[in-house]
Structure formats: C-alpha cells, structure tokens
C-alpha cells in the first residue's frame, strides 16, 4: 500500500464528461470517501483511443505526450485513468517513450513546436481500479460501507486491456517464462494478468458476492469495432452476458466506459432479437461502491445506465 500516492492527476477521458457521466460522478464520490484526491487534468485532449493508433503512430504518441506534459505542469508523477482505452493509450506511449530515446527526443521537439512544454520526465499511468486497490484497499472499503451489498451476485468484468499487454500494463506474463530480470518493466502494483481480482476484492469488501466468470472476465467486448463490425461485437457481448447470466449474476460490474457502452448497446440488440439469457444489466463498480457507502441511486446516477440495473438493486433493497 502507498506505492502510487494519495493525490494524483486525474485523466477522465472524453466519454466521462458525456455519456459516461455516471462513472465520473461515482468515481469522485468513491475517491472522496476513501480519502484519496483527484486533481483534474486541465484542458486535456483525447488519447486517440484504439482508433487513432491504427492511422498514425507519431500522432497518437503526441496526443498522449501532450496529456503527460499537462500532468507534469500540474506537478504530478502519476496519472490515473478510469478507462481501459485511456490507460492503455497512456501506457503505450510510456512504453515507446521509455524504450526508444530517438522517439523520446522527437516527441519532445514536436511538443515544443506545438507550444507544449517538453517532458522532463515520463509520468506513470495507472488504471483507477489499481489506484483504489493500492491506496485504499478492501479494508478501507469495509470501514466505509454503511449499506452492504448483501445478496448481490456480481460478475466482475475487467475487459481486455486492463491487464494487457504486459509490455504496456507492466503486468506479469504467464507465457514465455522469462526470468525476473528479463522483465524490468513489471510493477508491483499490477493486478494478476490472467486472473485479475482487484474489483472482486473491493466489491466483496462492500458485501457483494462474486460469481464465477472466467474466462469471460477478460474477454474482449468487441468495443473498438462496436460501430464498424457489429457482428463480431454482438457475438462477443452475447458470450459475456450469457456466461454471467448462467452463472447466476444479478449484475455485471464494469470498469471501462467503452466496455460498459458496448455491453449495454448490444444487450439491447440481443434482447430485441430474443436471444436467451442476456438480460443482465451493467453498472460501474464505482456506482456499486457508492451505493454501499450510503449514497442514493440518484447520487451515483443509476438512471444513466441504459441497461437499467435499478429494478435488480431495488429488489435487493440496495437502492
């Protein structure tokens, strides 16, 4: 505990200021309750998500380097992002900037040209879940819980990029069997790469029960293709929802706005088509923690969730 820091630069990313407002609002609530401080990154830009990197290599690095520079300007060594896509993009930039000095120099020169301070140091990026786990942890969550999520069976969905790839996320890789020394970029705060458990641990500390959800917990939702290759996304979401449902989940907990949107969108489509066992609603894990900390459904913006988890939560007396 205490590795990352209690006060960090907060990079919300574009969707948290719009369609995923509920995630932003509930994240702030949870951070405040856990005694952690988010310093909003002023005037940030889009990280390029999974899309821009397919079009332009240098351009995407620049987008992320600009945000890093803003964080440095605000006096931070650490950026946390609540989105898998954002934290992936920042970590990817971190990787290329760290491992290739030529790229680093070029990026700095271009930043300067664009009127942005060059990077004196490359800040580290963490997913917000990792930060909550390491700077507060299950114990603190337990202390703060006023209304335990008793009886709520949760499928904890981490999505693909939270622990992957190990080059960027600096998790341990089970493949390859390289020695410790061969993996200098591994970090001690990283979640388990194949069996992540931080979200399970936090929600269980708040009184919820996790259901069996492997291997779908890290299976891709088809998010990057959710608008351009609907067949693949629909199939992937179907597999995720059905696995959750058939293992008895009341709700799917998410930690990424893109996964969340993809699950909700395709859940609706699948239900319209009459596909069986896909009616599990989704909620951000921060919304669930917020409820456990005694906040109302309105406070954590449960009405924003298009998959409508309210009835389930009401039935269990949790909202």
């Amino acid at each position: 505990m205490g590795v990352i820091g209690k006060r960090v630069a907060y990079y919300p990313g574009c969707s948290l200021e719009g369609a995923a407002r509920a995630y932003d609002v509930s994240t702030r609530i949870v951070a405040r309750e856990l005694g952690l401080e988010l310093d909003y990154l002023e005037d940030y830009n889009c990280c390029g998500a999974m899309e821009s990197k397919n079009i332009t290599f240098m351009g995407t690095l620049l987008l992320n380097a600009r945000n890093m520079s803003l964080a440095r300007k605000q006096g931070h060594d650490v950026i946390v992002a609540p989105c898998n896509g954002c934290s992936f993009s920042l970590q990817r930039a971190e990787y290329f900037l760290q491992t290739d000095s030529k790229i680093f120099e070029r990026v700095n020169a271009l930043l300067k040209e664009g009127g942005v301070d060059p990077l004196d140091k490359i800040p580290e990026t963490y997913h917000i879940l990792e930060w909550f786990y390491h700077e507060a942890g299950p114990q603190k969550v337990k202390e703060k819980t006023k209304r335990p999520l008793r009886g709520l069976k949760v499928a904890n969905y981490y999505g693909c990029l939270y622990t992957r790839p190990h080059f960027y996320a600096r998790t341990y890789s089970h493949a390859g069997g390289q020695s410790e020394e061969a993996r200098p970029r591994r970090r001690e705060t990283a979640d388990d790469d194949e069996h992540p458990y931080y979200m399970n641990a936090l929600l269980e500390a708040a009184g919820a029960t996790s259901v069996e959800f492997e291997p779908m917990h890290t299976q891709c939702c088809g998010g990057p293709h959710s608008l351009s290759d609907e067949q693949v996304s629909e199939k992937f979401v179907m597999m995720i929802l059905q696995t959750a449902k058939r293992n008895g989940a009341d709700i799917i907990a998410t930690e990424c706005p893109l996964c969340h949107a993809s699950l909700e969108m395709y859940r609706h489509r699948l239900m319209m088509k009459g596909v069986p066992d896909v009616d599990v609603p989704a909620a951000y894990f921060t919304q669930l923690l917020g409820l456990a900390f005694g906040y109302s459904a309105n406070d954590v913006k449960l009405k924003d969730n298009l998959s409508d988890p309210l009835p389930v939560l009401k039935r269990l007396g949790l909202a």
Binding site: C14, R21, G48, S52, P165, L227, M272
Partner: protein
C-alpha cells in the same frame, strides 16, 4: 492424419486416396491423406522491409511461428478460423502479397484486445505488427477501404479537429456515413438524434433517457452535441499533428 490449420490449405489441394502405393509399398490407412504441393515464386521482399522500418512494426523479426498468438485470439477462436495472426506474419515476412490479399476480408477484423501481444513468448508486439501490415497494404493499394479503417479515420479526424471526441456526434455522424438519412439543424448543421432514420434498436435505446425522465442526462449530451467540447489551446498543436500525419502518409 489430422491437418492442423486446415483453413490455410485450398480444399482442392487436399486429396484422400482410397488406396495408395508408393514405390511398391502399400501405404493406405493412416497415410492416404495427401496435400498436393504447389510452387510459389512471387516473393516481394521489400514488403517486409517497410514493416521492419516502422517503430511499431519492427518486432516482426522476432517471430518464430509458435502460433501462441493465434491460439489466444478470440477472433480466430470464436469468429473465423481464417483469421490467423501467426499466418499473416508469416506471409508478410515472405512478401506473399496475393496470399495476404486472399485474406483481406478477415484481416481487418482484429478487435485490438492484445491477447496475442500479451501471450507471445518472443516479445513480438503482435497487434501492432498486424496493424502495420494492414497500413502497409493500404498504402500500396493492396486492400480496399474496410469498415474499421473508415471508422478509425472518422474518429481521428474528429480528434484532430477538436482535440476531443463527443459520443453522440460520433454515433450519429457514423450512422450518416453508413447511408442513413440523418436530420440536421439548419444553423450548426449538427445531427438531431430523434429525427430522421436510425436503426430501430438504436432508436429505442436513445429513447430510454426520455422515458425514464432523465432530463439532466439529455441536456448534458444535447449541449455537447451542439457545442462540441474542445481542447482550448489546440490550434498550434493541431498543426504539428497534421504535419506529422502528412509525413506518415496518414492524411488523405
């Protein structure tokens, strides 16, 4: 005998003989399944060079064809077994362009989940390499505009313009690109979500906040659609971005 990765062999080259005698020895039974040989002589060795020279593609040289990437890949496992990252890497390194082209209809389907990269024991940045292969093919006119590329461009243009993206505009702008008749307001020329054509399932989904009287959510998103959120000090930086993209040949 079993043929692994059967999808890689043209069906007409797989022959099963009733009875097979080679050099006077009867080898029927287990050995009667044959893959007819073929001759390849149109290698394009410059193709791989271009991939190796890009910073996100250079790890292609490390690949030793173990196929761990393919075994992990959800698109290969759950969608189409013709989608085979190991094989694409093999073909790209040999420069077997026409074989790559034959698979152009599945090559773009990668969902960028990075399981392949994560699992590769050799440290190949597999997902990145595959995207560089696609990029290189597109640059040489070897592959048609495919849906995810169109979307990637559309997305990136929005980032370039404003510094930030906006979900609603992205969604409805994309729907318009798909050929639906989207209604726009006369002054700002922005799409109006509840009018015009939209796929039925999406229409229902967009109606949900109205039905649940979630007015603040609607107001917030309507405001963002009308006045696209933008990064303030963006203009100078935008020019640098444009310049870099021009150099890479990424702007068309």
């Amino acid at each position: 005998m079993a043929i692994h990765e059967r999808s890689l062999v043209e069906p007409e080259r797989i022959v099963r003989k009733e009875r097979l005698v080679i050099d006077g020895v009867d080898v029927s039974g287990d050995w009667n399944l044959i893959i007819l040989p073929r001759v390849i002589n149109d290698y394009d060795l410059d193709f791989a060079k271009e991939i190796i020279n890009s910073p996100d593609g250079k790890t292609i040289t490390l690949c030793y064809q173990c196929s761990y990437c393919t075994a992990s890949c959800p698109v290969h496992n759950y969608w189409d077994e013709r989608y085979n990252p190991r094989h694409f890497i093999y073909l790209a390194r040999l420069g077997l362009i026409d074989e790559l082209q034959k698979r152009a209809d599945v090559m773009w389907r990668c969902v960028s989940c990075h399981k392949c990269t994560h699992r590769c024991p050799k440290g190949v940045l597999v997902e990145e390499v595959l995207k560089v292969i696609l990029r290189t093919m597109a640059k040489k006119g070897l592959i048609d505009e495919y849906p995810s590329k169109k979307f990637d461009k559309f997305f990136t243009e929005s980032v370039l313009e404003y510094g930030r993206i906006e979900d609603g505009e992205l969604l409805f702008g994309w729907i318009e690109k798909q050929g639906y008749n989207v209604v726009k307001d006369p002054i700002l020329k922005k799409p109006i979500p509840f009018l015009g054509e939209t796929p039925e399932w999406l229409k229902q989904l967009v109606m949900k906040p109205i039905k649940s009287m979630n007015i603040s959510f609607l107001v917030l998103n309507a405001k963002h659609m009308l006045f696209h959120p933008r990064t303030k000090s963006w203009n100078k930086f935008k020019q640098v971005l444009r310049k870099v993209m021009q150099e890479e040949g990424a702007l068309t």
